[in-house]
């Protein structure tokens, strides 16, 4: 009996010691992992809760204004407007191809004039709405488009970046449109690059367009007009690449590598803030045993300033909003948006080590 007691005491001590050691190690580890508030001012947080009639599990990047939040609900084929307290105030659209119908609306933005532009992907057009979600006009935009941007300066112009990876032929095409409709320029066709994934893009205040492939390892910056200004590598230690060689056999190469690679990184979003490039990474990991979202910060010359910042959700465009889509606490989705702003003075003065430097 005494022996059993002794054993029990020893086991308890061992468990307590292990727990303490694990706690200290965990605290030390989490202390070293940069988090969003280390480099960003967090200005505003809003909460939106989905319901059975208005679920929020299929919305694209939000548009936040001083009074409202707008979401394109791509599975619901409609656009939703909420007030800042999370109350639904307007809904626009239903599935179809008619004038005021939508099909797979995938993202929206607000112009400087205050109009909302919806990427009506399935109907291959843009729809222009006012802030009360009343229809104003459509703009033709061929293809399953991925992202839209507004260029600065007059006359007003839009940039549409497509096509998505699920459409043939795949690759990236960029079209500049007048706001009244009509293509002004088409450039950026990359038919022989990695074809299996969609492209992401962002526009800076000088109208330079940054484009990356979601699984790519380099960024291309185009001048307004389509000339390539520069390219740079995206090789931060946060990225887990698998190589898929460009060329006619790139699909086979992709699939072969995909078979071998369990974990890899997708570039989910890129955006500009305070003269820097924010690269939002998502770690694809079937075991889900590591952080899902990491953020890297580059300067506009491609120098990596910080890598591996943990974020709860996606950091995306429109003034650098972080938003989190979560199915908790109910089954119909909930969204938390946080407006954030990069604090440049907190960035390290020199370039960080890239993955190549670490080798």
């Amino acid at each position: 009996m005494q022996q059993a007691n002794l054993l029990f005491r020893q086991a308890t001590r061992a468990v307590l010691f292990s727990a303490l050691a694990a706690g200290v190690a965990g605290a030390q580890a989490s202390k070293n992992v940069p988090v969003l508030s280390d480099y960003f001012a967090i200005l505003d947080t809003l909460h939106f809760l989905g319901t059975a009639t208005v679920p929020l599990f299929s919305v694209a990047d939000p548009v936040l204004t001083k009074t409202n939040a707008y979401f394109a609900d791509y599975l619901g084929h409609r656009v939703l407007a909420f007030d800042r307290h999370g109350k639904l105030i307007h809904s626009y659209g239903a599935r179809g191809s008619g004038t005021t119908n939508l099909q797979l609306p995938y993202g929206m933005l607000q112009t400087r004039g205050g109009e909302l532009i919806v990427n009506d992907r399935g109907n291959q057009r843009l729809q222009v709405l006012d802030t009360a979600l009343s229809f104003k006009r459509t703009i033709a935009a061929t293809g399953q488009n991925e992202q839209i941007h507004v260029l600065s300066g007059a006359p007003s112009r839009l940039v549409v970046q497509g096509v998505t990876a699920c459409q043939q032929p795949m690759g990236c095409v960029i079209t500049t449109l007048s706001e009244s409709g009509g293509a002004l320029q088409v450039f950026g066709a990359i038919p022989n690059d990695i074809v299996q994934f969609t492209w992401r893009s962002a526009v800076n205040p000088s109208n330079e367009l940054l484009v990356v492939n979601m699984i790519g390892s380099h960024a291309t910056i185009y001048a307004d007009g389509g000339r390539i200004l520069r390219t740079f590598d995206l090789k931060s230690p946060s990225m887990i690449h698998f190589r898929s060689e460009p060329g006619p056999d790139s699909n086979s190469s992709f699939l072969l590598q995909r078979l071998k690679t369990e974990r890899f990184t997708k570039i989910q979003r890129i955006s500009y803030d305070a003269g820097h490039i924010l690269v939002q990474l998502e770690i694809v990991n079937p075991r889900h045993d590591e952080p899902r979202f990491l953020l890297d910060i580059y300067d506009e010359n491609g120098c990596l300033r910080v890598s591996g910042i943990r974020s709860d959700g996606l950091v995306t465009r429109n003034g650098a909003i972080e938003y989190l889509i979560s199915r908790n606490p109910n089954a119909f989705g909930s969204i938390v948006t946080r407006q954030i702003h990069l604090l440049v003075e907190r960035l390290p003065p020199t370039c960080a080590k890239t993955a190549d430097d670490s080798k």
């Binding site: 679920p55 084929h77 072969l256």
Partner: protein
Amino acid sequence: MSSFRRSFLAILLGFVAWGALSGLRRSLPALIGRPLISREFDWRLNKHKLTFLQLGSNSTVTVPDGDGQHSYIFIFFNYGDCYAGQADFPFWNQLPSKFDGTVKIIGITSGASPEKLRYFLDKADVRIPILYDSTDQVISELYFRGVRTPARILVDRTGAIRSIDGADYGQDSSQTAYIERVKRVLGALESGRKASGVQISIAQEF
């Protein structure tokens, strides 16, 4: 390292790479004529009275009514942000009426939650029976075999895969051609011709 060793190593690596690539290319045609490989999966979404299909644990498709008279077209799709599959929904809805009741059409999808799938189905007017692969195993298995969604897999009444096709992006001409091809393949099988003699095209080849 001597040049002889380097050459030997290069040749060895070349063989390994060649073997791996060949294996990948062979994987799709290798599915033809085989049973539809599937594991137990959860098809709790019962919107369309899915009482006629069970997936047995012996990796073959079995039909509970046991008549052995029906072939199947399984449509594997993702319902996320891609319009390619959605453009074909009206076509899928028409398919059951194109084969005089001899071919049953079943959609199989996975995704985040049954609620999200139900929301999608309600909004998208999908009228074929849908199975929900809650474990993502069936679609993952096909994906790793080089079949991208949306994919239509024709399974004859013996449970063997006869063709794999991709999306038609809503194009009438290729949809009509697909129906004719299915009729031709099944007709040839019924008239006793060897399966190997049937021209089967794989529209979505990698």
